[in-house]
Amino acid sequence: MIRRLILLAAVAAVLGLAAFWFLTIPATVPASALDAHTPDLVNGREMYFAGGCASCHAVPKQPDKTRLGGGLALNSPFGIFYVPNISPDPKDGIGTWTDAQFVTAMTKGTSPTGEHLYPAFPYTSYQHMRFDDLRDLFAYLKTLPPVSGKVRGHDLPFPFNIRRTLGLWKLLFLNGKPFEPDPSKSAQWNRGGYLVNGPGHCAECHSPRNALGGVIESLRFTGGPSPDGQGGVPNITQFKLKAWSEQNIADTLKDGMTPDADRVGGNMVEVVRNTSQLTEADRRAIAAYIKSLPAVEGRKPPPKT
């Protein structure tokens, strides 16, 4: 009797592990899914500043933001992430990656060696980008200087250091779909929606997260505690931005000054370093989309202890 129970338990465990294994297979985009494409470096540069790549990937504590050798330490509730080298260095960066590998990383969160990437890298937003834009971005990245040096691995306690478990996380929080335009809205609004939800990844900071670190969908854009534990991130729905016009929003993204002559602070200073490099049309498009976000009250911030 006991022997039979033990056998049953063993079979259940094997089946459970097999199911886990299948459910968590890292998804990839095969090269066959990509058509012939001539890179557009002007578009690539726009995607680069919309995506804010340098803000995480530039070598910290030095003034040249084109050196994407990584090394920045990102604090999180799950441990410390060390941002990798995405310079075009062939040995220590992404210089030998194919277009398919780059698109796979950005839209599926899977590395060229077939491992899950941690969503501290916001592929939950980048997944909405179009392949053409991603390939233009990749081409632009390859014009930047190669930087040698591999960055150390992340400092994550068990079980967060088991990459395979991210397969389950992705089942919960990734829909794997490009941005779906709304035909009832203007081209400008749709462009803004694409920039905000795709490369801009605004909601990644401007939303509260659940215990698993996923964005709480119903409260997207309503702000929350800062991901790195320093202060808070504001609500950018009409609950808080009612008094701001579209032009106000666009202007703030251009120079960091709010309509009441305050300055945006904290991590938003770095964001404006990027959005100030976009075209005025793209800033206006972002503004049109943000202005359209229905008013949603965010959660109250935790009391100061």
């Binding site: 702000g223 929350g224 505690p225 800062s226 320093q230 202060g231 808070g232 991130v233 504001p234 609500n235 120079d255 960091g256 000054m257 300055r263 945006v264 602070g265 904290g266 991590n267 938003m268 200073v269 770095e270 965010g298 911030p301």
Partner: protein, 89 residues
């Protein structure tokens, strides 16, 4: 802010407005990092004073002068706020 003819200007008083015992006074957005990096904080406050002093006359001269001065002063504001002023939810 009005400039008194005697005594320090607001920008010159700035570093002295953050003594050790002001850390937890009321609702404030001062990051604890200020007191861990006081030398850096004071240097950035000094940089603000310098930016204002250098653009002061131009800013007062005309609208164009003001337009040119604002980003210069704004950058000095941002350099400090980025690390030392907590954003609000």
């Amino acid at each position: 802010m009005l400039r008194s003819s005697n005594g320090p200007t607001p920008r010159q008083k700035l570093p002295g407005l953050f003594p050790e015992n002001s850390k937890t006074v009321g609702e404030n957005r001062a990051s604890p990092k200020i007191w861990l990096n006081k030398t850096d904080f004071d240097a950035k406050a000094a940089a603000l004073a310098k930016a204002v002093a250098e653009t002061h006359d131009k800013a007062k001269s005309s609208l164009e002068g003001l337009r040119a001065a604002i980003p210069v002063v704004g950058k000095a504001c941002d350099n400090c706020h980025e690390d030392y002023r907590l954003s609000k939810q």
